[in-house]
């Protein structure tokens, strides 16, 4: 599902963020990407979302080769990959329902379908009662659920979560992780990037450990080991 081959990313300041990364993630897998801040986790997410282009190497996601993917089609690719961020990235002037609906609106989905699909996804993330709330009226955990709902509303085959629990307390963090596991059980490939030791150790899933831009470990049932 996700294939990185010899991927190197150097930023303009000559800092090497990723150094010859090789990585394969299969369909329906739940993979945890572990690393300290600045290790290169977010760069991988940005490359997968086409916010950045690799300096060297090949990236293929869901059969699409990024190398010859036209820039003008990036929006259509983003509708196929769900991404969740540490800072939620919700539109502050839109309520919970509208935030999720927006992802469908940009894709030209008819209003009747939006009215059908959004409540279903809100039910999945347990926020049916909050659909009229503005983002600043709900808790951090709830905001992250909204972000997950938005990422899932296009029914993507891949969900990438970049430090989704970074701003949350342990209880809310586990709520989000449970939700990701549930989504994975429905058949969605999940790539979770985190540096939360407790979560990594308790998940008992495949763990990729990244340090200084290199993947230093790839364990089938891994532990936090940095």
């Amino acid at each position: 599902m996700i294939h990185l081959e010899g991927v190197t990313k150097k930023y303009a300041n000559k800092k090497v963020a990723l150094d010859n990364i090789n990585l394969d993630i299969g369909a329906r897998e739940f993979v945890v990407l572990v690393g300290q801040s600045g290790a290169g986790k977010s760069t991988i997410v940005k490359l997968l979302n086409m916010e950045e282009v690799p300096t060297k190497g090949t990236i293929k996601v869901g059969g699409i080769n990024y190398l010859d993917f036209p820039k003008r089609n990036i929006p259509y690719l983003r509708r196929k990959i769900g991404i969740v961020y540490q800072d939620f990235k919700l539109l502050p002037k839109k309520n919970v329902f509208e935030n999720i609906a927006y992802a469908l609106e940009v894709a030209g989905v008819p209003t009747s379908q939006i009215k059908e699909r959004v409540p279903k996804i809100l039910q999945l993330v347990g926020l049916s009662k909050n659909s009229k709330c503005m983002p600043d009226e709900i808790s951090g955990g709830e905001r992250q659920r909204v972000a997950i709902a938005r990422a899932l509303v296009h029914q993507p085959k891949i969900l990438i979560a970049d430090e989704p629990t970074g701003n949350l307390d342990p209880k809310n963090s586990w709520g989000i992780i449970d939700l990701l596991l549930k989504i994975n059980s429905f058949g969605t490939t999940v790539l979770l990037s985190t540096h939360d030791k407790e979560i990594v150790n308790n998940l008992k899933k495949r763990v990729l450990t990244i340090s200084k831009g290199k993947i230093i470990k790839d364990q089938k049932i891994g532990k936090y080991d940095l």
């Binding site: 979302n49 086409m50 916010e51 950045e52 282009v53 820039k71 990036i74 929006p75 259509y76 690719l77 983003r78 509708r79 991404i83 990235k89 919700l90 539109l91 502050p92 002037k93 927006y102 992802a103 609106e105 940009v106 894709a107 030209g108 008819p110 209003t111 938005r150 296009h154």
Partner: protein, 303 residues
């Protein structure tokens, strides 16, 4: 189509949400359009006024009764030979009387007063010129020896004041009008550009999020462009109303100033409402759209 309506809706929402900025943009646009169309209308009206007056200008040289036919013919030929002169017409005493009678057909007492006496009206030479500015040159012929004795009175001077006023006004309007329109247009573009830029800047995080959830550049650009169009449309409506009021109240004063000769701006506005409206709308929308596109360039460069 559904996307188009969503863009329109978002544009409206932006416009209302950025109330103060929208107000500033629209106001400056109104001022621009108002300046532009005022100068435009004044220019057209004055030009048509001048044309009207040009056709009306008969420099009439009233001749002494003692003038001989041969002398008059010589003077007429001399005038006709001048390149500035369009035509010279001799109006005999009898013709003058006929005209007088026609002009005063309804006024019995005037006509009766002429009965029984010799025709008191003088013969005249009516001279039309191509360019009113050359009028003085032409009429100087009447002051030359040989002509001076024939001519009793030259009647161009009464019109001359109006002509001079019209001329200097048109020149002024042309010179100032083009400059002022350009300056105001540029100022409007800069202000509307900056207003939209501020609006965009305050939404730059939103724009990033929109891109990340898969919005195309046109989907993001659309509402801002529509906002620009909205500035143009609202400004045009306000400016048209203000213009009508301005011309309605200043029209009579202007007519007076020019002695009621063909400078009818209110009338001009009335008969050209669609044209002026479309002109303003076009310029307003053009400024709105180009400001939006300019202001958005930076934020849409991101992948």
């Amino acid at each position: 189509m559904i996307t188009f309506w969503r863009i329109i809706k978002a544009g409206f929402t932006n416009f209302v949400r950025n109330g103060v900025l929208s107000f500033a943009s629209t106001t400056i646009m109104v001022l621009t359009l108002l300046t532009l169309s005022t100068f435009f209308i004044l220019n057209v009206a004055l030009t048509s006024g001048i044309e009207a007056i040009q056709n009306k200008i008969d420099v009439s040289a009233y001749l002494n009764d003692s003038a001989k036919e041969q002398q008059i013919l010589e003077l007429q030929n001399k005038l006709a030979s001048l390149s500035e002169v369009k035509s010279v017409k001799f109006v005999s005493k009898d013709e003058a009387l006929e005209r007088y009678k026609i002009q005063n057909a309804g006024r019995k007492e005037l006509l009766e007063s002429l009965e029984g006496i010799d025709n008191p009206l003088p013969a005249s030479l009516e001279v039309k010129v191509y360019d009113p500015a050359k009028l003085e040159q032409v009429t100087s012929v009447f002051d030359e020896d040989g002509a001076k004795e024939l001519v009793r009175k030259v009647s161009y001077k009464e019109n001359k004041v109006v002509i001079d006023k019209l001329f200097s006004a048109t020149e002024f309007i042309k010179r100032i009008g083009i400059g002022a329109t350009l300056v105001f247009g540029l100022v409007a573009l800069i202000i509307v550009y900056n207003t939209i830029r501020i609006a965009i800047f305050s939404q730059k995080d939103d724009i990033e999020i929109m891109k990340l959830v898969g919005a195309t550049n046109w989907f993001i650009r659309g509402p801002f462009i529509f906002e620009g169009v909205l500035y143009g449309v609202i400004a045009t409506i306000i400016s048209m109303l203000a213009l009508s009021a301005l011309l309605f109240y200043s029209g009579p004063a202007m007519n007076n100033y020019f002695g009621g000769v063909g400078v009818d701006t209110t009338n001009y506005l009335q008969s050209n409402v669609p044209m002026i409206f479309l002109m303003q709308l076009g310029i307003g929308i053009l400024i709105g759209i180009s400001s939006s596109l300019l202001a958005l360039r930076k934020y849409l460069k991101l992948r």
